[in-house]
Symmetry: C2
Subunit: 326 residues, 2 copies
C-alpha cells in the first residue's frame, strides 16, 4: 500500500485537503469554503469531512499522519491558536489536541507561512537549497524561512511573521492594529486600495471607468494595455515588494527568495521591478540573490503540511533536526 | 596547562585581543587603535602583535585556536572579506587564509554581529535560551541571531545584517548607499546628527549652547537634567529602536532581545520607551518578549570569537551543529 500523508491547508476563505505522497505528488484533492464565522468545532468538522471523503475514494493508501497548516500566529509548541483574526473563536483554542481527537493518525500543526516554505523547499522552487525565504503576497503578507538547511521556528514556533515588519512609520493601517507594516503597504489588499484611490484622484486611466470595480487583476490587465496610471501602480508595488525583500535578504542571507500568493500570478510583470530594487540598493555582497515565483502555486501549503508528517515520522522527537536531503 | 582560545575583535576604530577560557572568562586583554588606512597587511600585523604579547605574558596556557570577529559583510564560508567600508584594502581580501598564515593554531572567522551574539548566548544575557536576537547600536547597527538553539548564518555566513532593514522609504542616507535603513535612522551616529540639527532649530535647549559640541552622552546628560528637547530626542530614539526591534520580534520570535553597543550604556533610559512600543504595537502573542542589555559590555564580540574556537574544536566539520548546552 502506498504511504501517504493527509495535508490540510486551513485558511480564512478556503479549507483544502489532499492526499500527498513522500515525493510531494498530490494524489487527490478536495476543498470547501471555510465556515469561518461558525466557530472552531464546525471548522474541525469541515477538515475531518474533507479528509474522510478523500480516504473513502482512495481505499488502497496507508496514512502516515495528518499535517495541518493554519493561519498564525499559532503556538505550535503548545498546539494552541493564539489569535486568528480571520476565524471566529480561535483565540486560545487548543487546535492540535482538538484535531488529534478527530483523527486516528498523528497530527502535526504548522503556521501557514512556514508550511508553505516547507512545501517550496522540499518539492518546489527551493529544492536542494539550504537558505530560502518564502513570502506569500495575497490578502496579507506571510512567510517562512529555511536557514542553514533547517526550518526556522523560533519561540512557540511563531517565526516568519514578516508581514509585520514595519516599513513606514505611521503608514497605512494594518489589520494587526499597527500602521506601516509590510502587509499594510505591500499586500494585494493594499495594492487594490491604492488603485481605487488613484482611480478617483486621476481621471486619465481606464481603471474604474463608468463605475467598474477595481481588483488587482484589473490593474494588471490595464497595465498590459498601456494604461499609464495602472503601470505606475504596478511599478510602485514592485518597489514596495523589492524594498521589503531587500530587508529580508540582509537579515537572512538566503540563496533564494520564493514569492507565492495571489499577486505571484503576476510575477513576470512584478519581477523586473523587484530585481531592479535589489540590484540598486542591496549591499553588493547580497545582490546576486535569486527572486523566483513559487513552483507549487496554491499547493505550497498543502504539500508542506504533508511533508511535516514524513519529517515527523522520521525524527519524532524533533523533526526540525532531520537532515534535509533524503 | 589551562586550555584557552585567543579571541580577536577587529573593528574600524579598535582592535582587541584576549585570552579566553572555555567558560568565557577573560584572562588577559590588550587593544590597539586600528591602523585602518594602512591596508590589511598592517592590520594583520597588529592582530598578530597583540596576540603574541598576550601569550608572552601567559606562558602557562595551551592555545586551542584563534577566533576572529571582523566587520561584515564577510563571506565566512570562503573566508573572504567582501567589502569593509571602515578598513582600507579589505575588499575581496582572503582574510581567513592570511590570518591562518600568521598563526600556528586553527583560525575561525565570524561576522562581528554574529560573534557578539554568540558571546551573549554562551556567556552573557542569553545563556540557556534557544532563541535570541542580538543587536548592537553604536556607530552603526549590527546584529546576530540564535534560533532553535543554533547560530543563524545563512548563505556565505552573512545573515544578521539587520542594520540594513529598510524602516523608512527615502529616509536618512545610510553609509551603505541606500536611504532609510534601520542603521541610518536608529544608530548612535543618526541620534547624534538629529540632536545637532534639533539644537540649531530649537533655541530652548542647553544642547550646543555657546557652541558646545553635541555627542550622544551630552544628550542623555541634558535629558537627565530635565532638558525638554533632549528628552524628546531620547524618546524618539527609543521609539525608532522599539519599532525596529518589534519587526525583528515578528520575524524571529526570540525569547529575548539583547542590546549592546555604545547606546546600550543608556539602556535604562531607553528601555521603557522600547518596551512601551512593543507592548502597544507588537501582535499580542509576541508582546511578552524580554528586551535586555548585553551582559558582556564591550566583550561580547571578543568572548564570542573565542567561543567559536571551542565550538569548532568539538565539531570541526560543522561547529554550528554542536549542541548548545555544555
Amino acid at each position: 500500500m502506498k504511504q501517504i500523508a493527509i495535508g490540510i491547508d486551513l485558511g480564512g476563505t478556503q479549507v483544502r485537503a489532499a492526499l500527498v505522497d513522500e515525493q510531494g505528488n498530490i494524489l487527490a484533492r478536495a476543498e470547501d469554503r471555510t465556515d469561518a464565522a461558525a466557530g472552531p468545532e464546525r471548522v474541525l468538522s469541515q477538515i475531518h469531512g474533507l479528509a474522510e471523503g478523500l480516504l473513502a475514494a482512495s481505499p488502497t493508501v496507508s496514512v502516515v499522519g495528518v499535517g495541518v497548516s493554519a493561519p498564525g500566529p499559532i503556538d505550535t509548541v503548545a498546539g494552541v491558536a493564539s489569535d486568528v483574526p480571520t476565524l471566529a473563536g480561535f483565540a486560545g483554542f487548543p487546535l492540535k489536541a482538538k484535531l488529534q481527537a478527530r483523527f486516528p493518525f498523528p497530527v502535526s500543526l504548522e503556521n501557514d507561512g512556514i508550511a508553505a516554505a516547507i512545501g517550496e523547499w522540499r518539492f518546489g522552487a527551493g529544492r536542494a537549497l539550504d537558505n530560502l525565504v518564502y513570502l506569500t503576497v495575497s490578502t496579507g503578507i506571510g512567510g517562512g524561512i529555511v536557514a542553514d538547511g533547517r526550518v526556522l521556528r523560533g519561540r512557540k514556533g511563531m517565526a516568519g511573521h514578516i508581514g509585520h515588519m514595519s516599513v513606514m512609520p505611521d503608514g497605512a493601517l494594518c489589520p494587526c492594529g499597527n500602521r506601516g507594516c509590510f502587509e499594510a503597504c505591500g499586500s494585494g489588499t493594499a495594492f487594490t486600495l491604492r488603485a481605487r484611490m488613484r482611480a478617483i484622484e486621476c481621471g486619465e486611466t481606464v481603471l474604474g471607468r463608468d463605475g467598474a470595480t477595481i481588483d488587482s487583476q484589473h490593474v494588471f490587465a490595464a497595465a498590459r494595455q498601456g494604461d499609464r496610471v495602472a503601470n505606475q501602480l504596478v511599478d510602485e508595488e514592485a518597489e514596495i515588494l523589492g524594498r521589503g525583500i531587500m530587508s529580508l535578504v540582509h537579515i537572512f542571507s538566503p540563496d533564494i527568495v520564493v514569492m507565492g500568493g495571489g499577486l505571484s500570478n503576476e510575477f513576470d510583470r512584478l519581477h523586473p521591478g523587484i530585481e531592479a530594487y535589489i540590484a540598486r540598493w542591496a549591499m553588493p555582497a547580497f545582490r546576486d540573490v535569486k527572486i523566483v515565483r513559487a513552483a507549487m502555486g496554491q499547493n505550497s501549503g498543502l504539500a508542506g503540511a504533508a511533508a511535516l508528517v514524513f519529517l515527523a515520522e522520521k525524527s519524532p522527537r524533533d523533526y526540525s533536526r532531520q537532515p534535509r536531503k533524503t
